[in-house]
Structure formats: C-alpha cells, structure tokens
C-alpha cells in the first residue's frame, strides 16, 4: 500500500470476516503464521468444516453485523476432503455474489479463493489484496444493521 493512500484513510481499517475451510485454508492461514509471513491483521478467521457448508446466511449475517468484507476460502477444485463440497460452494457462492451485486452492494466486498494447506504465502496475498481493495470503498453501511 502506498503512503498516499494510507494518509487518506488513516482511521479506517476494514474488517474482514474470513470463512476458512478446516482442511485447507485454515491450515493455510496457520502456515502463513508459523512461516512468519507478514500480512494485515484485518481478517477475523472463522473455521468451517467445508467451504460447501458456508450458507448464504453466514455471509449476509456477517455483512449485517458490520463486516466490511467477507471472504470464503476452501480447497482447490478436486482437493475437497468431502469430495465435492467445494464444487457445491462454487455454485452457491456464485449466486450470492451475483445477488449482492444485483442489489448494488460493491462486488469487491465479497470474495472467494482457493487456498490449500501448503499455500501460506497465497493466503497472505489474498488478505493483502482484499484489504487494499476494501480501503477505497470505505466502511460498509448498506447491509449493516442500525443498532443505535
């Protein structure tokens, strides 16, 4: 991130909710940690049994509770521990993404990635990219519940 951008958005740190598959992406984020790879701490990881188990409700709920971005990450196609969970996730998540875009939520607020247990570096890159893409968008207020 350039210094220029940092000045503009100093007091805004995007909050990301990351749904990570237990078998790949969660292990991948662990690897990023034990390998001492530096990446932003904006993501709150939530381990789920499989990317296919991520209900659209989780995503909407995270956005409703004020997440600025939501990441769903699972095993590469063909590597699913449950054989086909990530195929199902791919289809379901595509629909969620289209629906969010359709009602006018910025497409960049929602992301999906394949990160294997060996790809700690990729995980850190995914988070870095996501944070950088979220910064210019500012806080997510569209779906956030008004608790005042």
């Amino acid at each position: 991130m350039s210094e220029q951008q940092a000045e503009v958005t100093t007091d805004y740190e995007p909050r990301i909710v990351a749904f990570l598959c237990k078998w790949c992406s969660s292990a991948g984020s662990d690897l990023a940690g034990v390998s001492r790879i530096q990446y932003p701490s904006n993501a709150t990881p939530i381990t789920v049994p499989c990317s296919g188990s991520v209900s659209p409700m989780y995503i909407l709920s995270a956005l409703k509770k004020g997440a600025d971005g939501v990441l769903v990450s699972g095993c590469h196609i063909g590597d699913c521990h449950y054989i086909e969970g990530n195929y199902l996730a791919r289809r379901k998540i595509h629909l969620v993404k289209e629906l969010l875009g359709f009602v006018g939520v910025e497409q960049d607020r929602f992301r999906m990635s394949w990160v294997s247990a060996a790809e700690g570096a990729k995980y850190s890159q995914v988070i870095k990219d996501f944070v950088e893409d979220l910064r210019p968008l500012g806080p997510q207020t569209k779906l956030k519940a008004d608790r005042s």
Partner: protein, 341 residues
C-alpha cells in the same frame, strides 16, 4: 380453446369414480371478478369450478397445505388429490416432487394449457380504466363483462408480464391435459424488466432497492403465498427456541437470530435476499409473491435474476423434470469460477 365444461366433467368423473379424494381448483370469488381457490370433495360441486383469466393463484400451495395437514393429523389418505394446474403451477408441483415433498402418485394433475394467453394483470386492467365483474378467455382475447356491456381486449395488452415472457405455457407433467400445447410461442422477450434494470449502475441499483426494502412491512404475505416456502420453521421465526421459566435473559439474548422480525432496512434486505437465495433454482416465476405484496415490492426482479443466473451459468431450468437434482445440490465441472482467486 379450453371448454370449461371439460374441466368440470373431468373433476366430476374423478370424484364420482372415487379416484381422488378432492379436487383443488378455482371458483367464482365472492366479490369482484376474481376467481378464488376452492377444494371440492363432492362430485355435485364440480360445476362450481371456473377457468378464466383471473385464475392467477398458484394452487401448488394447497398441495403443500394438504401435506402439512395430513402430517399433522397423521392421516393415511390412500387416494391421490387432484389439482387444476397451469404450466407454471405444474412446474411448481414438479419442483416439490423433486424435493420429495410428495410422491407423483399422490397427486393427480389436471393440466390447463394457457395456449396463446395467460393470466390477467389487474394493475394493467385498472390502468385501462376498465371495471369488470367477469372475465373470460376467448381465443387470444379476454372478454370482460362491464357495466357498459361486453368489452373485448387483446390478451397481450393486459396480460401479466410473467405470462407474456413465459416460455412453456403448458403443463408438461400431467395426468390429463386440456388445451393445446403452444410451447415456443413468443409474446415478449424473457427477462425484459431485468435487462432494463441491469442497465443502471451499482449505485443507482442500491438507491432503488434501498427504497423498496425500506417500504417492506414484513407481513410475510410473499412467504405465505409461496408454494416453495414450505419450511415448518422459517429462518426468521425461530419458533423452536423454547422459552421456559428457567430460560435466562442471557440465553434469550444470545440465541442465534439470523434475521430479526422488525421491519427495518437491514433486516428486510436480509430477509428478501435470503428468500431469493432459497428460491434460486426453485422459483417457477408464478409471481404470486409480487402480486400479493401490499406495498408492491418488485420481488419478481430478484427471483428473475436468480432464475436467469441459473439458466445462463448452470444450464438449469426449474421444474423441468422430477428426477433432476436441485440447483444447489448439483454441479458441473465447467461451472463459472473466474471470480475465484
């Protein structure tokens, strides 16, 4: 051109020969020109049945109600139940059977082809300044009975948009069918409203939906009228959370509530988007939700978006065949994944 008497005779025969235990159909409503759903159990009532442009209702809903009632009373009916079904209703019934809600032999489908027409859009009729007491099909026209006498209007001028855009106005799944198969007729390009809407940019789309969702009063009419919304416990209700004298305030406060029932924007939008997701690949575009909405939220846009996405990206047609897997329970090797990093 369907002879209404044929439908009545079919229903009468089925009941007289004790082949079905009831017939779900339409009868003349008690006020105005609109038909209303009716369940008849006696052959003598068969003459009450009507078939006209105001038969909007998706009667598949009453199959679901019947099923729930049977489950509640633990009755074993033995005989199937007959239902008068348009093309869209028949597709809804197929979706329900795809999901094993009931078996094929438990339903007797009296198919009604819409032929060259479809059902009426009351709003379009009102905008033409016509107040009618009765409506009837006549070829590709509607004939309305008004205070000034009979009025004939070309059906496509006052037909519901979803019927104009309908690709299969014929109940493919049926035990008996009345009327000709006019599949392939093109009255209007499908998804026209959706295409127009998608020309707006994201910010404009949000302004539009923000206004729509703000108006929702959470009456749940859309949910009540939808044959696909058959869950015993809806995600917005959480009725299975037992509150007893021992339930602590903390437990009440911390229970999982995905969506609140309060009619505020964030909850409304979550509710409607969840509903659209749950209907993806299941919605047969009967448009009952939009018709019954008291504040006219354009729910068809949301459902159409999901339908088109399923069709164009996954080659999926809802209600095409009983044996087909559900949209989100199946996949293809070449599903789109450009959006994945």
């Amino acid at each position: 051109m369907i002879n209404i008497q044929d439908m009545r005779d079919t229903a009468r025969d089925l009941l007289a020969k004790n082949e079905v235990r009831a017939v779900i159909g339409y009868r003349r409503g008690s006020s105005g020109m609109n038909a209303e759903p009716v369940v008849i159990t006696d052959a003598a009532q068969a003459d009450e049945l009507v078939w006209d442009p105001t038969c909007f209702h998706n009667l598949a809903l009453y199959l679901v109600e019947d099923r729930k009632f049977l489950a509640h009373t633990r009755a074993k009916p033995g005989l199937p139940i007959a239902i008068v079904a348009k093309g869209c209703d028949a597709r809804a019934i197929v979706v329900l059977m795809q999901e094993h809600y009931f078996k094929r032999e438990e339903v007797y489908i009296i198919g009604m082809s819409c032929e060259g027409t479809g059902v009426l859009d009351e709003r379009k009729l009102a905008s033409q300044g016509i107040q009618a007491s009765n409506a009837a099909f006549d070829g590709d026209d509607y004939v309305f009975t008004t205070a000034q006498g009979e009025k004939r209007i070309a059906a496509r001028e006052v037909m519901a948009d979803r019927c104009l855009e309908c690709r299969i106005p014929y109940p493919r799944e049926h035990n008996v069918v009345l009327g000709e198969d006019k599949t392939g007729r093109v009255l209007a390009e499908p998804f026209a409203a959706l295409k127009r809407f998608e020309e707006r940019d994201a910010a404009e789309r949000w302004i539009y939906w923000e206004r729509q969702f703000d108006r929702c009063i959470r009456c749940f009419a859309c949910r009540s009228v939808c044959p696909m919304c058959f869950c015993d416990e809806c995600v917005v209700d959480s009725i299975s959370f037992p509150v007893t004298a021992q339930t602590t305030a903390e437990e009440k406060a911390n229970r999982v509530r995905w969506i609140e029932r309060s009619a505020v924007r964030s909850e409304n939008i979550t509710y409607h988007m969840t509903r659209a997701m749950h209907l993806a690949g299941r919605c047969v575009d009967c448009n009952e939700c939009e018709r019954v909405c008291p504040v006219n939220i354009p729910l068809r846009l949301l459902n159409n978006k999901m339908e088109r996405e399923a069709r164009e990206q996954f080659g999926y047609e809802p209600g095409a065949s009983i044996g087909a897997p559900a949209l989100v329970a199946s996949f293809l090797d070449n599903d789109p994944e450009k959006f994945i990093r």
